[in-house]
Symmetry: C2
């Protein structure tokens, strides 16, 4: 039983007891995404969960885009980019990439929307990029190669997190199993079942990309 249940007896214009504000709205939004997926994150549903009207939410977040930026800022707080000033580049990249992906696996359904969200509205995201860039620079990378490397890693991270949101039976060939003997055999030979499969693929790809990047920093 939540204190924010809809109270139909409240008269119009009467303020609510708990000030909604950005903080409470963002918190509730993350709660909804965690429990019911990103398709459940609607202004209307959020307002319902807060016990107010959709128009009241719009009074704080002037658009759904702004609401998503609040969520982005909140989520990026979980990404750990602290290793770049203490560890060698490869180890720092490993830690950063894992925590980055973990955050988006935990809030998986938000990936496609946050991956294309401008970062200017999220100071925390900018600080993360600054840390990663410093790691590359400290390792002797030339300025003009750094952003491409970061974008490539981030693409892999987002793609992997996206993959982790796919249904477990995404590779189920259905009635066409007979036409894919090799791939079907490879599917059955996999070491890690269910949810762990996506993790294993991420680990393998991350090691490959880091090794490949650090072996050929000239692009």
């Amino acid at each position: 039983m939540d204190a924010n249940t809809n109270d139909a007896s409240r008269r119009r214009g009467e303020p609510r007891d708990g000030v909604p504000g950005r903080q409470m709205i963002t918190r509730k939004a993350l709660e909804i995404v965690s429990e019911h997926g990103h398709e459940a994150l609607t202004i209307s549903g959020l307002a319902r969960a807060l016990g107010v009207t959709p128009a009241a939410v719009h009074n704080h977040a002037s658009s759904k885009q702004e609401l998503l930026q609040w969520v982005q800022e909140e989520i990026m707080a979980g990404v750990d980019a602290s290793a770049f000033c203490e560890l060698p580049l490869d180890e720092a990249l490993r830690r950063w990439a894992r925590s980055y992906r973990d955050v988006f696996v935990h809030h998986a359904p938000l990936i496609p929307v946050i991956a294309v969200l401008p970062v200017g509205g999220s100071p925390r995201t900018l600080r993360m990029y600054e840390s990663v860039a410093r790691g590359f620079a400290a390792a002797g990378w030339p300025d003009e190669e750094i952003v491409d490397a970061i974008v490539a890693l981030e693409s892999f991270i987002f793609g992997s997190a996206l993959d982790a949101t796919a249904p477990l039976d995404i590779f189920d060939p259905g009635p066409h199993a007979a036409s894919i003997p090799t791939f079907g055999g490879a599917l059955r030979a996999r070491r890690h079942p269910g949810r762990q499969a996506a993790d294993a693929a991420f680990q393998q790809g991350l090691e490959a990309m880091i090794a490949g990047l650090l072996a050929a920093p000239a692009g």
Copy 2:
């Protein structure tokens, strides 16, 4: 002027001249996505473009999910996985990955939806996986490593295509430019401007991942 403009004078129940059917619906859906982005691909809008009611579209595709599977099957036809039976694995992977990404950059806004769509409904997608798996197997890869490698590459491909859909100014730091000296400098030092930036990051990442995978097939 399209022949499919809405004809309000047609009486109810009267069949249309051009049979809509799966083929015409899919064609129109791709047209809409190419011209107006994936957010414009709605059953209602599609019906409007076809000059019928939304219910008429539902008569063929019983849900939006089914419509998207038709689109998936159509789009995957553009992915070239033919190189795996004629070229060395690394070169075949390069060709496949580039054509795969090109297809989804061309139909960019569909990535987040198709990336998590079960493949059982798309025979063409299954055939593609079979070709890639055969390429790995022919190169001597053990069965249990193949799927993870494919998934890792695919995650990077989807992530890169997703990145290509991001607004050009996604890295614009806005009022916080002063707080990111290193990253800001790296942004200005990039060799490739605008749309080419995403391509460059993809190329660098692809070479890194292929090199990394083929150097350590044991994962």
